[in-house]
């Protein structure tokens, strides 16, 4: 079992109900394949630095979990097929720090 971080970028024109579906879908994939979820962070709607496929903004969802190689393959396979996602990234870590949240309150300041 290793520690991983996974981030998803969903399209901007998705409704909130669909967003929760996506979040649940990857939660289930991790738990069904003998993984443990440590933390889930919603970074909210953020601006891109550059355009990605004619989109200027996107919803970010961030997972921190403990899993085997089998779950990673499942997550990759699903996120490539998924039409509502723009990009995804998985990073392996030796230690996860769950305390610092870099994107907390970015959207609140603008309002």
């Amino acid at each position: 079992m290793n520690l991983y971080e996974h981030t998803l970028i969903a399209k901007q024109d998705i409704s909130t109900a669909e967003l929760e579906k996506i979040e649940k879908k990857y939660n289930d994939i991790i738990t069904k394949t003998d993984g443990k979820i440590v933390k889930v962070e919603k970074w909210g709607l953020l601006n891109f630095a550059k355009k990605i496929k004619t989109y200027n903004k996107g919803f970010y969802i961030h997972y921190k979990f403990e899993a085997k190689n089998k779950t990673l393959e499942e997550i990759k396979r699903n996120s490539i097929i998924d039409n509502s996602l723009l990009r995804h990234l998985t990073v392996k870590y030796k230690k996860l720090d769950t305390e610092t949240e870099y994107f907390k309150g970015i959207n609140e300041k603008k309002k």
Partner: protein, 90 residues
């Protein structure tokens, strides 16, 4: 050897005393690496504030001879910056 060192020390120490612009300044400064040592900031692809300091206006990675980052930390910086670029954060 001692005489040579004496000569080097006698040079004018104020960098504004130069005769021309292309003359090298005598006052050498050594700068420590800002990312290593105690209570250094964490290099991570989520820490955008830190990564933006080491990027030029045209989104290029700054060379370590300008920023004086140590070699091992520079290697880590480049990998983290590239991860952030994939996610469209930088």
């Amino acid at each position: 050897m001692k005489r040579k060192n004496n000569k080097f020390n006698k040079r004018p120490q104020n960098p504004l005393n130069k005769l021309s612009l292309f003359q090298k300044s005598d006052s050498r400064f050594s700068k420590k690496c800002p990312l290593s040592g105690k209570d250094a900031p964490i290099i991570d692809y989520k820490n955008i504030k830190l990564l933006k300091r080491y990027i030029s206006d045209t989104d290029k990675i700054m060379p370590s001879r300008i920023t004086s980052v140590s070699q091992s930390k520079q290697r880590k910086l480049t990998s983290e910056i590239k991860k952030a670029k994939i996610l469209g954060l930088i």
